[in-house]
Symmetry: C2
Subunit: 337 residues, 2 copies
């Protein structure tokens, strides 16, 4: 008899999610049918998008989220026992997956068979070699189209995606300026990731910071944060600047009916002919492996540094999720099952 | 001895411009040198962009602006006496223009020789067959790339550019919804220009209006207004919607150090993968005649209605400018010299 433990999304979030918005239950799983596989979670991913995404998730269902899992039983020819996959199985320790009848998902639909990482940790399948890495690769390069010598600003710069984008920008020959929410993060960005400049937006005025670090203006802005910080960056952009909107974490804990206010951006758009585009990484699903291979090569060549904030234990996922939403992570937040 | 009268930009605007921010002077003009032409104003243009643009104009100089003028004397082979041109000559009745030494301008640099309008009024060279018409043609079609059946929203819909864009959208097979600032303008948009819906944003909630007129969402938004109205439109956009930012008239009379606040737009950008681009029509200077010919054909075919708000007399330009900035015009605001 196979059992699974799961976090139920029990109560709709108000403001910052709380641990008792979830309940943990244990269930028995039925025997596998033809076309199904049984997966055991190895790593869970907690990501910013999950906060707003739950607005459309019914309460009483398993909390959403992706995981890196091992196939422990299989009645589907493509998925052999022993392989590892990334899937949207939610916060549960074991999952039965009906491969050919999976509902539409935010990025990959079928479980993604994790390729050979040349000895790198499996958890990277949820970070630099997974969705966040591909978010950085496609969302920055395809939308900002950075050119050597240009000035790139990244908000949420110490997160999984932001820290990756900043390094890609350096590799492309750009000057990189990061904004993050603590002095420790800023130190990491400057000392280890070699950002040209980095600032704690909580203690340093963003406009002043950019006047110092980018006196001639900003060409590209990769935005994870939105709101007032982004208005300040946009006001410092240069003619024909490009903005890639990846996230808006500054507003994710707000009630959707109370959209925060920020200085308007349209005057800068007109006078500097700016372009801004939001994206969801599923747009590049058909090029998924290209992104992973690109990032894998960078890591093997020592050109891309990754960092993980690891929480131990399935029972601590909600805690890890809540801490990540409050900026508690550096790099990718993952939970070891 | 040739004289000119001119409006001097005497005092920097604070809030809504006032008539006594200008002083009118009369000057004698020197004899023409080789390469110069003498032009006599026939029509003056007053346009929204002039308000923010003056932030970079030194006080004590001639007020900026374009005009349709007749060449009355010429020492340049391309510009014959008797032809009409559009030029950035400012608010003055007669201008000496050194053709090969003209400073960079917002759109055309050299005076543009007005082509044969097939009997249509010369003033159209400042409106539907000039900068505003080309702003509509290029700024809407190139940036929004509207497809038949799509829903297009236009703000500032009763202005020179907005009323033109809405009609282009109808010609492209779109459903068109306009927002304007008076019931009379709304009536004109619906009754004469055949907009599918139009609303007075001062008396009708924008979100509610769009829920009624575009229950499935908005595909394209041509924005002349910015600010809170635009945040409301953007929140009602559909997946992969496109926004062309032409102007931001809601903030033009504000002190630049006090940028107005509006609900943030980034969450919509992420979840709906929206794209927004600002432009200045000079981007398409090398295709200028294409736009004019396109619009001219539409007028000749009876497919494009134009309307002008005409003020008589050079001495009333400032008054016409101030009224236009407060929404006093329907269609193009022009001043007869």
């Amino acid at each position: 008899m196979v059992k699974t433990k799961k976090f139920i999304f029990a109560r709709r979030f108000v403001g910052v999610p709380k641990e008792d918005d979830f309940t943990v239950v244990e269930e028995e799983l039925p025997p596998l049918k033809e076309g199904e596989i049984l997966c055991e979670a190895v790593w869970f991913s907690v990501d910013p998008y999950m906060r707003p995404y739950t607005a459309n998730v019914p309460t009483g269902t398993t909390m959403i989220g992706s995981q890196a899992a091992r196939v422990i039983e299989s009645k589907h020819p493509e998925y052999k026992v022993g392989i590892h996959v990334v899937g949207h199985f939610g916060w549960q320790t074991r999952s039965i997956v009906d491969i050919d009848n999976i509902p539409a998902a935010l990025w990959l639909s079928k479980p993604f068979i994790i390729p050979d990482f040349s000895g790198l940790p499996l958890s990277l399948a949820l970070g630099a070699l997974g969705m966040p890495g591909n978010t950085a690769y496609f969302g920055f390069l395809e939308i900002c189209k950075p050119k050597p010598g240009e000035v790139v600003v990244v908000s949420g710069a110490a997160g999984a995606v932001g820290s990756h984008v900043g390094q890609l920008a350096k590799i492309k020959g750009c000057k990189v300026i990061g904004f993050a929410g603590s002095d420790d993060k800023v130190k990491w960005l400057k000392d280890e990731l070699k950002f040209d400049a980095a600032f704690n937006y909580k203690t340093k005025d963003v406009t002043q910071a950019l006047k110092e670090a980018a006196p001639d203006g900003v060409d590209c802005y990769f935005d994870n944060v939105g709101g007032t910080l982004s208005s300040a960056v946009i006001a410092q952009m240069r003619e024909r600047g490009r903005i890639s909107v990846c996230g808006s974490i500054s507003s994710y804990n707000e009630d959707i009916s109370k959209i925060p206010l920020a200085p308007i951006v349209q005057p800068s758009f007109v006078w500097k002919q700016l372009r801004m585009e939001g994206f969801i990484v599923s747009r590049w699903t058909d090029r998924w492996e290209e992104g992973i291979n690109y990032n894998l090569q960078l890591i093997k060549d020592g050109k891309l540094i990754y960092r993980e904030t690891v929480t131990e234990g399935f029972e601590n996922i909600a805690k890890a999720f809540i801490e990540m939403l409050q900026g508690g992570n550096v790099g990718k937040a993952v939970v070891k099952a």
